[in-house]
C-alpha cells in the first residue's frame, strides 16, 4: 500500500509507457526542459532524452497535427495540451483529423494518439482558461474520452489510452494534481479499461453520478448525507466515451433516485446524455425525476464569489439530493 499524488501517478504512467514502447513519445509546450506546466513530466527529459520528450513552440494546431501524422505511420504520440482550454486552438486536428481518418481512409489508417492535459475550471482563471471540454469531445464519433478522478484511475487510464489504437483524450482534473490516493506499486502493471465506471461508495437511497472534479465533491456530500440518514451511492463514470451504461443502470435500479453532478455546462452537457439513457432504459425504476447539478450557463467570471456561484458545490448537490428524495 502506498499513497502518491495524482501528478505522480500520471508521471509514472508516462514513464512506464515510454519505457515499454519505443514508438511512444511525449510532445507539448514546456513538457521537456520546464518539466511540464504542472510538473507532470518531471524528470522525463533526463531519463528519455530530447528525441522522445519534445518541447514545442506555442502552436497547438501545428503540434497536434504533427502528432496525428506521426500516428498514421505507427508512432504513438502523447500530445500534452497545457490545458484543454488551449486544445480549442487545435480543434480542427482533434475533431476533424484524428477521429475521421480511420473512416475516411476506409479503415486503412487508424490514429493511435493520446491527447492529455488539465481540463475543467480551476480557480479564478477567467472564461478562456476554464473550459470543461468533455461534452464537446464526447459528441464526436471516433474519439474516446476519459476523466480520471483519483491517482489510481489517472495512472491506469492513461496507460490504457496510450495502448489504444484510436485517438483518446485523457482529461485530467486540474484541481486534483496534488491530491493523494492509494496506487499499486510500480512493479505491478496497472491498466484500467476505458468505458468502465466504478462505484466509489455503495449506497441505497440515491445514485450520485459524477466524474473528474465532481467525484471528491460527491464523496464529501455522501458523508454529510449519511449523518441525515440518506445513503448515497457514488458512481464515478471514469470514461465519458465509451459510457458505462450498464453500471449507471445497475445503480439506478438499486436506488431508484438519481442526481448527476457534472463539471461542464448544462446545455447538451454529459448529464443530458446520461439522463436520456436512464429514462429510456429503466423509466419504471425511477421514483423521482432526475436532477442535474452543473455549471451555470454563463462564461466563467473572474470574481471569486461569482465563480463559486457558477460551479457545482456541496450545497447545490445536497439540495438536489433532497429534492429527488422528497425530504
Amino acid at each position: 500500500m502506498r499513497e502518491i499524488t495524482y501528478r505522480q501517478a500520471l508521471n509514472e504512467a508516462l514513464a512506464e509507457e515510454l519505457e515499454r514502447d519505443p514508438n511512444v513519445f511525449l510532445m507539448g509546450e514546456e513538457v521537456a526542459e520546464y518539466h511540464g506546466a504542472y510538473k507532470v513530466s518531471q524528470g522525463l527529459l533526463e531519463r528519455f532524452g530530447p528525441r522522445r520528450i519534445i518541447d514545442t513552440p506555442i502552436s497547438e494546431n501545428g503540434f497536434a497535427g504533427l502528432g496525428v501524422g506521426a500516428a498514421m505511420v505507427g508512432l504513438r504520440p502523447i500530445i500534452e495540451f497545457m490545458t484543454f482550454s488551449f486544445s480549442l486552438v487545435a480543434f480542427d486536428q482533434v475533431v476533424n483529423n484524428a477521429p475521421n481518418m480511420f473512416t475516411m481512409s476506409g479503415g486503412q489508417f487508424n490514429v493511435p494518439i493520446t491527447f492529455r492535459g488539465p481540463n475543467g475550471p480551476a480557480h479564478q482563471l477567467g472564461a478562456t482558461h476554464s473550459h470543461a471540454t468533455e461534452n464537446f469531445y464526447a459528441s464526436v464519433p471516433g474519439l474516446k474520452v476519459c476523466t480520471p478522478a483519483t491517482p489510481r484511475d489517472a495512472k491506469g487510464l492513461l496507460k490504457t489510452a496510450v495502448r489504444d489504437n484510436n485517438p483518446v483524450l485523457v482529461l485530467e482534473a486540474e484541481l486534483l494534481y496534488s491530491s493523494k490516493g492509494i496506487v499499486e506499486p510500480p512493479d505491478e502493471e496497472l491498466l484500467i479499461p476505458l468505458g468502465k465506471a466504478e462505484v466509489k461508495r455503495e449506497g441505497s437511497d440515491v445514485s450520485i453520478i459524477c466524474y473528474a472534479q465532481t467525484v471528491p465533491l460527491a464523496l464529501k456530500v455522501a458523508a454529510q448525507l449519511e449523518e441525515e440518514d440518506i445513503s448515497a451511492e457514488i458512481v464515478d463514470l471514469r470514461s465519458i466515451k465509451p459510457l458505462d451504461e450498464r453500471a449507471i443502470l445497475d445503480s439506478v435500479a438499486k436506488t431508484h433516485r438519481v442526481v448527476i453532478v457534472e463539471q461542464d455546462h448544462p446545455f447538451c452537457g454529459v448529464g443530458a446524455e446520461v439522463c436520456y439513457r436512464i429514462q429510456k432504459n429503466i423509466f419504471d425504476e425511477l421514483d423521482a425525476p432526475i436532477f442535474r447539478v452543473s455549471q451555470e450557463d454563463v462564461p466563467m467570471p473572474y470574481n471569486e464569489r461569482l465563480e463559486k456561484a457558477v460551479l457545482p458545490n456541496a450545497d447545490k448537490l445536497v439540495a438536489a439530493v433532497k429534492q429527488v428524495c422528497y425530504t
Binding site: N61, F63, G65, G69, P77, K144, N166, G195
Partner: protein
Amino acid sequence: MTAMQPAEQRDEVEMLSLMLLIRRFEERASQQYQAQKIGGFCHLYIGQEAVVAGAVAAVRDDDYIITAYRDHAHALARGTSANACMAELFGKETGCSRGLGGSMHFFNRQNHMYGGHAIVGAHVPLAVGLAFSIKYRDEDRVTLCFFGDGAINQGSFHEALNLAALYKLPIVFICENNLFAMGTSVKRSTSLKQIVDRAEGYDIPGEIVDGMNFREVRDKVAEIVDSIRKEPHPAFLEVRTYRYRGHSMSDPASYRTKLELEKYRLDDPITRLRAQLTREGKLTNEQFDLLDKRSKEMVLASVKFAEASPQALIEKLHDFTYADGAKP
C-alpha cells in the same frame, strides 16, 4: 504505372502515359459527375498533370506523399488503379477508401499515399508528422507535401513550416500555385509578390519552377530530395501551374478570362512533354496515339467497374469508426 522503380530509372514515356491517364480520368470523372453518378464536391486536376508526375518521378516509391482535396492525380500517380479511384467517386466499397472518403479523401496505405485532405491547410501539420516519424526512426525517406496557393494563408500552414524548420525534418512543401484559391486570385489573397517568399520567413530554402514542364519539376524535386537525404531539412517549392477547369465541378470560373486560359492551354504539359520526346526520337505519333487510346480504355473500363461494383453495406456502417470495432 509500374510500381517500385528507383527514381532515376523512371521512364519518361511511362510518365507521359501517367499524365494522359490522369487527364482522361478527370475528363471521364467530369462526365460522370454531370450524369450524377458522382456526388459531393469534385475538383479536377486537368492542366496540372506535370506537377504530380514530375514530383513523383523524382522520389522513391517508399517516400511519403500527402495532398489536399484535388487528389485524384496523386492517387493515380502512386499506382492506385483507375478502377479503385473511379469506384471511390461512385461511393462503392471497391473504392480506394471503400467509398467512405469520396473525391476529396483518396488514400493508399500500401503505396504511401497519405490522403486526400479537405480542410485547406489542415494536412500540412500531418505532413510534418510524417516527416517527424522519418527522423524519429532514422530513415532516409522524404515526405512530399502538396497544397494549393490557398493554403498558404492558413494558420496551420505557418505553424507546420515553423515546426519543420525547427526540428529539421525531411519534407518538401510543394505549393501547386494555380493562381486561384477557389475564385480568389493570389493577388487578392496574399500580401507577397511571390509565394515562395513565405519560406524565407521560416529560414526554409525556396525555389520556383515551371509546373507546366514535367522535366523541370522532376529535376528540381530530385535535386532537393537528394540534398534532404544527405542531411534532413525542409524545402519549399513553388510550382507555377494552371487548372483548366473551375475550382470544382460547380464553378464556371467566370473570374478569369478566356484569353488567360487559352494562353496556358498553349503551354499544355502533356503537349510539351510529347513534343520533347518526339523531337528526341523517343516517341512516335503512333506510339503516342496508342498510349492515349490505352488511357481512354482504362478509364472507360473503370467506369464500368465502378458501376458494376456492389453498393456499400449498411450492416457495416459502424465498422470503421473505431479501430477495435467498438460501438460506444
